[in-house]
Subunit: 360 residues, 2 copies
């Protein structure tokens, strides 16, 4: 994907760190590609963006498409999910206005915009692209054991639950490895990650038979990379998404695994009758699963300590280090130094190799 | 589905126990609904059906649609999968002839016949139904923890590999339980099972996010049943299909699990670099996975000893019983008495309940 995009991100009425996760992450990781945020309610409130989502200092919030156009966006990105799944009438109008203005449209909704007759017709007329990032590529298939002998090293993320920050950890670890001179790439498996990376497969939308194969394909396409970080989804014991998680874990044949956790969460998000496993037991289950087909160890615990005090966050990290014997840190709060070191050590990335890559 | 169907089963040139699994199972379990087998090569060879697939004494093999029509079929069932996935030209002609004769068409192919313009048009003209059993129903969704408190008891099948006879075991166990007076139902999750049962969901074709939810839905729809047997797919450590398997196992929240195994298989079918786990270790992994969210025990090992001598099959069963401490038998060779007893014991099916059900 050409890196000339300038995104206008739609968050209409829901601009916040929990209500507009896609918008927040795009601002965090692609701030220089964000033209503006479109949210009439937030624009009226007049607060600066960084006060609402913690990042994005200086980026404008606009209240209409016309106002947004003055910031020269090239694409409209849907930065939130509508409640109930149906497309609100006001969004429909905004999307059509943007298409008429010659902008591409990027969406991670289950409602496939490219199959919406009105949008498809308008896009064809204006020769713009509608990119439904959740749609699977036509060529995904079953896993074929293509990764076994590649020199590429792979790190998989897996968590004790959904919605814990695995994508953020993946991006931070990738950036940390690259900053340290390694030839790393982040592999996106969810909508937001795909919008950040500009490529990837929304694994939860793939036909179940092809989950392991889709991950294999993403790794195979990047086989020249020294290291890839595979964004994880869910948990191996999630009551609704365990299938997706286990398929991804096996399909990626990882050499190392990072385990994601939220210290103050006790039960599966939205499934309150299912307690989280103790981290150590969760790690053992993950390792038992990979042992069967491509043995791999969890090498670090990545934490999401959002909302905790610094002291509590530090205590939680220390406690998990004592319990698991593994390094633990929150890459946003503490930085990713421990994760990067654990990954480089576990994968045996050689300084010589590192220098050779860095000097290209 | 009305039980008046009379199937003409297409196996063109591939009529055999391994090459036409769907046909073989339909004949085994729905012989009184089979009108004839359509296979010009087998018809020319002139051997009786039971010599070719072990079952089906007395059922005719015909060489043309015209000849088949004399047996008054109501539907054409595609009983094999074409090599490479494309539809052979000769099949296209046969399918159109059957539609023109007013027959429904039932297919488990990945190639969706109902979306084929020529077939769709012909079917509409003749007002017949094309049933692509692999297509998911529109209303599948994510799992919602609806099974937890049902009185219904659930048995899940899981194997050490794909293609081992889990569907056959499910049907045999269901029949055994019903013969013993329990109110049992077999839940089909693959094409052949769906054709036998007349309902079900081809779980490998569902969007990955919905695997756990699709199984939950199938169980929920049968919540009045005393016992359901959920046909399994794959293995929790299968390099390509583990995601499907684990999602099914968690989605069904089983009270008991039957583990399927082929004693003389050493490696994953088609994935020869992946050894099978020892049965006992495989059972431990399955139990570790369910322990996390809905604890369940493996209660018996079901064997597929096809091709072994009676003495070898008996020895293999005995060996597994010694290793695992569980009853083990091949329901085709040995009958399903041990499986039925293990299930009734583990699920605590009460004789009173049994009598009450049996007397309805």
């Amino acid at each position: 994907m050409a890196r000339k995009r300038r995104m206008m991100i739609l968050t209409e009425g829901r601009l916040g760190i929990f209500t507009a996760k896609t918008a927040t992450c795009l601002v965090r990781y692609c701030a220089d590609e964000v033209a503006c945020i479109l949210d009439s309610k937030a624009a009226r409130a007049g607060k600066p963006l960084e006060e609402l989502i913690g990042v994005g200092a200086g980026l404008p919030i606009v209240s209409t498409v016309a106002e947004g156009l003055t910031h020269k966006p090239t694409q409209l990105v849907i930065g939130i999910a509508p409640v109930g799944g149906a497309l609100p009438a006001s969004w429909r109008k905004i999307i059509l206005q943007c298409i008429d203005a010659g902008m591409d449209v990027v969406s991670g909704l289950h409602h496939i915009l490219g199959e919406d007759e009105e949008f498809a017709k308008a896009a064809k007329r204006r020769k713009v692209r509608i990119w439904d990032v959740r749609e699977s590529p036509a060529d995904v298939s079953v896993a074929q054991d293509r990764l076994r002998d590649l020199p590429q090293r792979r790190i998989a993320l897996v968590g004790s639950d959904c919605n814990m920050g695995k994508m953020v950890t993946s991006v931070e670890l990738d950036r940390g490895l690259r900053a340290a001179g390694y030839d790393s790439e982040f592999i996106a498996t969810g909508q937001t990650g795909i919008m950040i990376a500009g490529s990837g497969i929304a694994i939860d939308h793939v036909i179940s038979d092809f989950v392991n194969g889709a991950i294999e394909q993403l790794c195979w396409e990047r086989r020249k990379r020294q290291v890839v970080i595979v964004e994880g989804q869910g948990s191996v014991y999630h009551p609704a998404y365990s299938g997706v998680t286990v398929g991804m874990l096996h399909g990626s044949m990882p050499h190392a695994i990072v385990y994601q956790h939220v210290p103050n969460r006790t039960h599966i998000y939205h499934y309150e009758k299912f307690p989280l496993m103790p981290v150590k037991a969760g790690i053992q289950l993950v390792e038992a699963l990979t042992a069967a087909i491509y043995p791999s160890k969890v090498i670090a615990v990545s934490l999401n300590t959002f909302g905790m005090t610094d002291a509590d966050a530090d205590r939680a990290a220390k406690k998990l280090e004592d319990e698991t014997g593994l390094p633990a840190e929150d890459p946003i709060r503490h930085g990713s130094a421990k994760l990067v070191r654990a990954a480089a050590d576990a994968l045996g990335l050689k300084p010589a190799q590192k220098r050779a890559r860095a000097s290209r």
